[in-house]
Amino acid sequence: VKLIYARDCLAPNGAALLEAVAARPLPPPALASPIDFPPLRGLYQACLDRLSIRERYPAPDWSIADRWVARELLETGAAPAPWLPRYYVTAVPAFHAGMPIPRTTCAGLSAPLRCFPARPSAARPTDPPARALCASVAGLGADWDTGFAYT
């Protein structure tokens, strides 16, 4: 990564840009999601607890915490890779009042994990409600273990 240009400056039209966006009417509230939020929030909370994020970082940088949670979900097989972006743009903002995680982040997460060898099914956590929820949200069959994330 190379530096092309660096200069200590404030964009002259930064204030005008902020005025322009402030004048823009707020977007309408998001349409009700077909995803049931409480279980997803529960899944997210369970991941936060499992990673002890709150204990380790009283004021975490959520952009990093979210990435860890996404990785955890993929590695443990709790959520299939194609489903994560949808999860993040719906459940997570409601959970910690942040902004949606960019889809590119989720896309980037899934790529390196595909290099990992498949885990034996027995090593995957078996939380039937969470797995059933993921499968139903993603429109997957009961055997969605096969072909996701670890292939």
Partner: protein, 109 residues
């Protein structure tokens, strides 16, 4: 290695413009429109990231995201990267994207 100017649950006043395909003269255009970047880095050949400081004060996330989207739209940058807390690559470190990895496991600088 990634970073972003940090201001807790606010944006620090800096917007990242992810220019995957920067057109010729983009820097001049940014300057002429009053959006001169304070830092421009080349993350890989032909791919740039520009940090534009639009406010000396921290900004609420929603405002910063709208500003990022507006800038991304204006300059044809990656809109998926236009949000209030997007991370940028840090200068002098290597880009370990898979397509930049060599057979020996090292990445191009």
């Amino acid at each position: 290695v990634y970073f972003r100017p940090y201001a807790g649950d606010h944006n620090a006043g800096y917007i990242l413009l992810d220019l995957d395909q920067p057109v010729a003269g983009i820097l001049a255009r940014l300057r002429s429109q009053g959006h001169a970047p304070c830092v421009v880095v080349e993350t890989s050949p032909g791919r740039w990231q520009a940090w534009i400081r639009i406010s000396p004060q921290p900004l609420p996330p929603a405002v910063a995201t709208l500003a990022a989207r507006r800038l991304a739209q204006l300059y044809d940058a990656d809109r998926a990267s236009a949000d209030w807390r997007h991370l940028g690559r840090l200068v002098e470190f290597t880009n370990h994207k898979r397509e930049r990895r060599q057979a020996d496991g090292f990445s191009l600088g």
